[in-house]
Amino acid sequence: MEKMLEIRWHGRGGQGTVTAAKVFADACLSGGNYVQAFPEYGPERSGAPLRAYNRVSSKELRMHCPVLKPGIVVIADATLLDGVNVTDGAVDNAAFIVNSSKDPKEIREKLKAKPTQKVFTVDATKIAIECFGRPMPNSPLVGSLSKISSVVSLQQALDDVQKSFGKKFSQKIIDGNLEAVRRGYEEVKEG
């Protein structure tokens, strides 16, 4: 990586957004990068809008503050598009990854993204339900983000999900999440 990549996640409490940021940071680490993953701290309330951040760089990361100018914005819950300014501060060539069943062109209009910015959608909730039976969009989104950021390979993301989930969950849940990461990687589409 030549330059620092800054990512902002928008999600709701309980969706696994913070975990997704952690898993992604861990996957980037295996590529030899410096990484950060941290949520915006506040009262942790299920369903409340929250933000989390990643920084990834080949150089030491000294900055210890929220990301203001994200290069990638991941929106784990499309209902946030109505209430939260998710494009705030996004750089001119930023990419947005939105968890939605809608066509990326429709989401692009809703976001009022600049022509230089890219908009992607992935139906992460559907993938999650099909893969492991719960509406937790984090694993598919890690897959989509791995593809769009090109910082980590699909295999690195898979290895890391295996590692982070391996301690806590049954093989069935792990396999479901691995499949979800793979599908998130493959099914993300640009509009």
């Binding site: 990068n33 990484v35 950060q36 993953a37 941290f38 701290y41 503050c65 203001l68």
Partner: protein, 393 residues
């Protein structure tokens, strides 16, 4: 060569404590305690350490239990944060006055009221004159490294004082960063076996701890404590040299960043120093000679060395993440001003209070301060000496 991991500050410090494998840990297990002690508790429960853990009903009790265990002859740890440190206040002086080398990571968080447990230095600043050693840490790596070094410093036969290792609440304690762990055997060899001095459990040599000292001798104890404090700097540097041999990472009494040829400078503690360094690089690219000084050993404060390092500057801003109420200046400012007072030619000094109760410190704040310093260096005029920044009017 140890392992590279992405972990939170709390995980990293808990890992350092596991590697040291202390005899006793007495901790209060509920907020404002952080998950650092929860993680260490898992090591105890899973048999990863031989530590006996005592979960107390308050921080006052946890520090009291630490005093007892340390006087008994054990290597003792605890951890706390915010109100917890405030509640320990009475016993902090007993630990230091009794010369017990207890190690205590402090996750720096705000004090009530109003109730707030976000990043802020008010807790540790309130305890800065309690006779403890204080090491402050910019990031997760430094918090881990300082924790390991703290044992060698505190337990050094010339010192025998308790030590706090400070790290920023949430910003470091709960955020994930890449760090390098040392191998278990490297850490245990580095800290060595604990050698108690006059342990109470040595029944062949009975000793008394905590006796009444009347005016005829109390002051001599205080003078001795002061004299010990003056030896800490040398030990900190010696330990840092040894630590560099196993880690490759250099530590001093403080860190300077692009300061040697600087005209203007910022003095700042902990995580905000990192953010400031990035902004200093931007100013340097514009041809502005800016630099930074970040204290590491905050107690005892290396007045002489810091004064020497700052005296050539034209203008300096000290940023405090705590206020010392009294319509005066922040605690770090007061120390920096003292360190510069002996010099006839010294920089113009200003003070900003920032980041209280978890308020974000952004690059824009550092830019604002550096721009003001550029003006001051040019004109010699100060607008206002002390000011809150990043705050609503």
């Amino acid at each position: 060569m140890g392992k590279v991991v992405a972990v939170t500050g709390n995980e990293a410090v808990a890992e350092a404590l596991r590697q040291v494998n202390p005899d006793v840990c007495a901790a209060y297990p509920i907020t404002p305690q952080t998950d650092m002690m929860q993680r260490f508790g898992s090591f105890v429960n899973n048999g990863k350490v031989k530590t006996e853990i005592i979960l107390t009903e308050s921080e006052h009790s946890s520090m009291s239990a630490c005093v007892g265990a340390s006087a008994a002859g054990g290597r003792v740890i605890t951890a706390t944060s915010s109100q917890g440190l405030a509640l320990m206040f009475e016993i902090l002086f007993i630990a230091s006055g009794t010369r017990l080398p207890i190690i205590m990571p402090v996750v720096n968080r705000a004090l009530s009221a109003p109730l707030n447990i976000h990043g802020d230095h008010s807790d540790a600043m309130g305890a800065r004159d309690a006779g403890w050693i204080q090491l402050w840490s910019e990031n997760t790596q430094e918090a881990y490294d300082n924790t390991i070094q703290a044992f060698r410093i505190a337990e050094h036969p010339d010192i025998r004082l308790p030590a706090m290792v400070c790290l920023d609440g949430f910003i470091i304690s709960h955020s994930i960063e890449r760090i390098e762990y040392l191998d278990d055997n490297e850490v245990s060899n580095f800290v060595g076996e604990y050698k108690p001095v006059n342990p109470m459990l040595d029944i062949e040599h009975p000793v008394s701890y905590g006796p009444l000292i009347l005016p005829d001798y109390y002051m001599e104890f205080r003078k001795a404590h002061d004299a010990v404090m003056s030896k800490v700097s040398k030990v900190v540097l010696d330990v840092a040299k040894d630590f560099e041999k196993i880690s490759g990472r250099k530590y001093g009494l403080f860190e300077t960043y692009r300061l040697e040829d600087a005209d203007i400078g910022i003095v700042i503690l902990n995580s905000a120093a990192g953010t400031t360094k990035d902004v200093i690089d931007e100013f340097r690219e514009k041809g502005i000679k800016a630099g930074l000084l970040k204290p590491r050993l905050y107690r005892p404060f290396p007045y002489k060395e810091i004064g020497e390092a700052l005296k050539h500057l034209k203008a300096v801003c000290v940023l405090d993440r705590a206020d010392a109420f009294g319509a005066s200046h922040g605690p770090l400012y007061i120390d920096i001003a003292s360190s510069l007072y002996p010099y006839e030619k010294r920089p113009i000094l200003i003070n900003k209070i920032y980041g209280l109760g978890g308020r974000d410190y952004m690059p824009g704040h550092a830019e604002l301060v550096l721009n003001e310093l550029v003006e001051i260096a040019k004109t010699g005029k100060i607008n206002v000496v002390k000011e809150y920044i990043g705050v609503r009017e």
